[in-house]
Structure formats: structure tokens, C-alpha cells
Amino acid sequence: MAVKIIESCVNCFACEPVCPSKAIYEAKPHFLVDPKKCTECEGDFPVFQCASICPIEGAILDSLGMEINPPGSLTGIPPEKMAEAMRELQSH
């Protein structure tokens, strides 16, 4: 049972100090979670602390590999709107 930080992490350090198990560490190219230490905050907090402060949608996965913060959940930008904006920019 452990969460996982993936490559979309922007290395903002926000999650590192809020982890109750000190499972998160700075690494290259991005922060990582030590799966042996991660408790998924069980016994400490009802919600994942790292995923509650992380500003990047999709950067942290739960133990099933699901995005804890799916697209649109943090920025409020509907995913289809984001896709449309990206298409628009790429066509330039």
C-alpha cells in the first residue's frame, strides 16, 4: 500500500513536509515516495496529505494506479476545454 509520484511532478516541495511518515524524498528528475514507508496516511489523517496539497493533476497515483486528483479537479478547467486550448495553440 503506497502512493506513487510520477513524471508530471514539478518538484515544488509542497508534499515533502506534510507527509506524516517521512516517505517522500527529493530525487531526480522528480520527487519520489518510499513505498516501504508510505502508510497512505492511515492512522494519521483521513485523506492523503501529499495529494491534498499537490497542485498538479495526475501527478500522484494511489495503490491501484488511479489518479488521486483527476484532470479538472484542481484547476477547475474542464478537460475538454483544456484539450481544445492545446489544439488551438499547437495549430499556430
Binding site: F13, V47, P55, T75
Partner: protein, 496 residues
């Protein structure tokens, strides 16, 4: 302790209601001496000082505890110049080295700020370690910090221990309903809190932090981002509230929301204010509050005078090779600062004499005119039109000359020579000067001369190395004498 409240004297009912209007007085002249002394060499707090002194930010604070709709934490581009953007995050040790390297090589750098790229107070260890070391190792540098305010009440005690006598709080609203349209969430007491509930906590913390700082005698500037249709009608109220609590300066900045920045506002098509809308709001707040108009919304790792960024000269690999003897540098800096101060003092005296003369002289009845000025500092016209990265906009009227705003010549992206729609840099620049009737610079080339004339902007290279206010007034008088300003209908309203 309550700081003296500014502009308490009732404004005259006749003429312009804006407090800085009416004479050639600038923003700082209305400050009590005790505050002016504290900010006279601070480019971000004093309009006067920004012509002479430089600042730098060190990017030691990457984490943030809130999300704003004008911010995208994924962005990092060296061609971007706006808050929240940096090229490399520094450790406190690297930041201290960089600060001393810059202070040695740019002696007019007087201020070190921590402004991100996240929130400095959401990174208390890194931020305070940097401040602790600098107040010991480089005591001649002023330290300041800017924050969203969420963690401010808990940090006030620690802030007051260091050399920090200026704090900037970004306050975009005092109404949680409006706040919910700007802040989608905050991280608070181990939870992500969304919507009105989160915005309410943030606002309460900002106001509490503001009161606590004032009680400690720390100067507070308030920054607000003007978002049309969201908080534009509300910011005059914000201005009143923060002034009543003792903030000494209010800086209303335009929203930056290019779609390519990938922010909520950018992607959703929320526009920023036009220069006219921004100036109207600043003017309407200025009857109640001392307004700042020279902010450049700089990067969290900017280095140099406000209009420039010399960060590239001080990258980590470059400073590693520099040999810094700070005690020796401090001696040199002292001499240079003294000389700048004397120049500023004599100029201030000269300006008040000129203002008195202007008041005594027969008053013109001509309409106000906006002029653009190309300068790199020292308060003089000293930049070639084609080399100007930005222009300062002044308004000349029978009452004198006042600073209005700045406009970027090369927009936000410096990485390309033309915009997507094929417009040349020159065309963009000429368009950026819309509303101005003259542009004063040290020289103008043939091609831009013609383009400016066609756009109704008179190029003028005759006042190179002259003081800005004097040159603007001289050109204004020439225009008046030539009968160009008699048409009252043409441009009654200044539009910068």
C-alpha cells in the same frame, strides 16, 4: 501601533480628485517622513527610487498552499517575465551566494525579496534560513517578502526578528463569494478546502496578518490583481479596508492571462483589463489610498532595475566562479548609495521649486496629453527608441507632470522576433503606445519615425539626457504654443 493614514486631508473638490494629481508631486511626496525614510531606496515601494535602485528576488520558495486562477505551477520558461515563473529553484545557501554576488556587481541593488515561485511563508524553513543568513552576512541589504497571507499570522513573530521592514500581501478581495471565483482551493489544517469556505479562511488570515504586521510597525503594501468582471468593481472597497487597517501602499496590477500560460483564466478566455480600465480603477482608488503605478510584475528570480532582468548573468554556474569579498563590497556600496541619495535629494528639491514656479506662472487651459518616455534609469531620457524594452507613460497637463504607468515594448515573450500573427516587434511597440501623442527618447530611426507619425505619435529625440518631467513639460508647452492642445474634445481623458 497604528501607522499614520495617508491622504487624510480632504481632496479639493475642484479639478482632479486623484491625490497625486494637481502638482508635479509624485507618489512618495505625500508620505510622512518616517515612512519615506524607510522606502526611499526601495525600488518596489518608491516610484522615485525605481529610477535609481535595483532589486532582486531569490527563488527559494517553490511550495504553495493555495491555488489562484491566474497561476499555473507547471510553467517554467526563461523568456517569460511574470510572477510565479523561475528558471531554477535555489537552496538558501545558493540564494545567499547569489545575493552577495549581485550586490557586489550591481551596487545599486538595495533590496532582496523572496516572492516565490510558490508562497514564501509556505516554505518557512527555506525562506527564514535565507533571511537569517543575509541579515548577518549582508546587513546593508533590505529584506522583504511577499505572500498570499494564508500562513502569515503564524509567521509574523519570526518576520519581525529579521531585517524585514516591508511585507507585501496579495489581497484580491474581502468577500468570500468573489474569492471563490479567484481561488479554487486552499490547503488548510491538513485538508484541501474548496470554494467559498476556503476563500473565507484565506481572507480572514490575510486580514489578521495585515493587522498583526501593522501592530509590529512593519510596513505593508497590498497587491491586487484586477480581473474584469470578477473583482474590478470590488477593489475600491479592498483599497478602503486595507488603508483603514494601516497598509501604506496599494498596487493594483492587471491580470495576465495569455492562453499559452495554461492558467484557468487563460484557458477559459478571461481577459485582462485594458490600460484605460486599469488607470480608471487606480485613479478611483487614489482618492482614498496611496497607489503604486510602477510595478513591473516581475519574476520570482528577477535581478536588476525594475524594467530589466539580468538574471542570466548570475546563474549558479556563473556565480560559482565569482570571488566575492563582501566587506569590501559593502564599503563601495555605501559610497555609491550615498551619491545616489544626494542626487535624489537635490532632484527632489529642484522638482518642488519647479512645481512652485509652475503654480505661480500663468496657468494654461489646455487639455492633458499622454507621452511615452524611453529611460533606463537615473530619471533621464536615455534610451534609443529601438532599444527600449518598455516605455514609461506620463501625463502632462496645466497642473504638471505625473507618472501614469509603464508599457512593455516587447510584450511578455522575448524569444521570437515576431508574433504569431506576423506583426513585427515595431508594429507591436507602436500599438503599445496607443493613446500617447509624443514619444521622448534619445534617438529614433527613420522607419519607426514614419510609423509613429502615421499613428499620430510625435517622435522626439531632442531631449536626450534631460530629466523626464522637465522634458515632458517642455514638449507639452511647445504643443500648447503650437495650438495643438486647444481642441478640448480630442482627448479630454487621459488613457494610459
Amino acid at each position: 501601533m497604528q501607522l499614520p493614514v495617508l491622504n487624510d486631508a480632504p481632496t479639493s473638490k475642484s479639478g482632479c480628485e486623484a491625490s497625486s494629481c494637481g502638482t508635479t508631486e509624485n507618489q512618495m511626496d505625500s508620505l510622512p517622513d518616517s515612512i519615506r525614510e524607510k522606502v526611499q531606496n526601495h525600488p518596489c515601494y518608491s516610484e522615485d527610487a525605481h529610477h535609481y535602485f535595483a532589486r532582486m528576488h531569490v527563488a527559494v520558495a517553490p511550495a504553495c498552499n493555495i491555488q489562484c486562477h491566474y497561476c499555473n505551477r507547471k510553467y517554467d520558461c526563461s523568456n517569460e517575465s511574470r510572477p510565479g515563473v523561475v528558471s531554477e529553484v535555489l537552496t538558501p545557501d545558493q540564494a545567499v551566494k547569489k545575493t552577495m554576488a549581485v550586490a557586489t556587481n550591481i551596487p545599486q541593488m538595495t533590496v532582496l525579496g523572496i516572492a516565490g515561485p510558490g508562497d514564501p511563508l509556505a516554505n518557512p524553513e527555506r525562506t527564514f534560513e535565507t533571511f537569517r543568513r543575509l541579515s548577518l552576512e549582508a546587513p546593508d541589504i533590505k529584506l522583504c517578502v511577499s505572500t498570499n497571507g494564508l500562513a502569515l499570522p503564524d509567521a509574523v513573530e519570526e518576520l519581525s526578528k529579521h531585517n524585514i521592514d516591508h511585507v507585501t500581501i496579495t489581497i484580491n478581495c474581502v468577500d468570500p463569494e468573489i474569492g471563490a471565483k479567484i481561488y479554487p482551493w486552499i490547503f488548510w489544517n491538513n485538508k484541501r478546502i474548496k470554494g467559498v469556505k476556503g476563500a473565507k479562511i484565506l481572507i480572514e488570515q490575510q486580514q489578521k496578518g495585515l493587522e498583526m504586521l501593522i501592530a509590529k510597525g512593519i510596513l505593508v503594501k497590498v497587491n491586487s490583481v484586477m480581473i474584469p468582471g470578477v473583482n474590478d468593481q470590488h477593489l475600491a472597497e479592498v483599497s478602503k479596508v486595507v488603508k483603514a487597517k494601516g497598509a501604506f501602499l496599494h498596487n493594483v496590477m492587471p491580470l495576465i492571462s495569455e492562453p499559452e500560460h495554461g492558467t484557468f483564466y487563460g484557458v477559459m478566455g478571461q481577459r485582462g483589463p485594458t490600460p484605460d480600465e486599469l488607470q480608471d480603477l487606480q485613479d478611483s482608488c487614489s482618492g482614498d489610498m496611496n497607489m503604486m503605478r510602477h510595478c513591473r510584475q516581475c519574476r520570482a528570480d528577477a535581478v536588476g532595475m525594475l524594467g530589466e532582468d539580468r538574471g542570466d548573468e548570475f546563474s549558479l554556474d556563473k556565480i560559482a566562479d565569482m570571488d566575492i569579498d563582501y566587506p569590501a563590497a559593502m564599503e563601495k556600496r555605501k559610497v555609491i548609495h550615498q551619491a545616489i541619495q544626494e542626487e535624489m535629494d537635490s532632484k527632489r528639491l529642484e522638482k518642488s521649486t519647479k512645481a512652485a514656479q509652475l503654480k505661480a506662472a500663468a496657468k494654461l487651459t489646455t487639455r492633458p496629453v499622454l507621452m511615452a518616455v524611453a529611460t533606463s534609469g537615473q530619471g533621464v531620457i536615455n534610451v534609443h527608441f529601438g532599444h527600449a524594452k518598455e516605455f514609461l507613460i506620463y501625463e502632462a497637463s496645466p497642473d504638471g507632470v505625473r507618472f501614469i504607468s509603464h508599457r512593455k515594448a516587447d510584450q511578455y515573450c522575448g524569444g521570437d522576433t515576431s508574433c504569431g500573427d506576423g506583426e513585427s516587434v515595431l508594429q507591436v511597440t507602436v500599438r503599445a503606445l496607443a493613446g500617447c501623442e509624443a514619444v521622448l527618447c534619445s534617438k529614433v530611426g527613420y522607419e519607426p519615425w514614419e510609423m509613429l507619425e502615421n499613428a499620430g505619435i510625435m517622435p522626439n529625440g531632442e531631449h536626450a539626457m534631460e530629466f523626464i518631467e522637465e522634458a515632458v513639460m517642455a514638449v507639452y508647452k511647445e504643443m500648447a504654443a503650437a495650438g495643438k492642445l486647444d481642441d478640448k474634445q480630442k482627448a479630454v481623458r487621459a488613457s494610459a
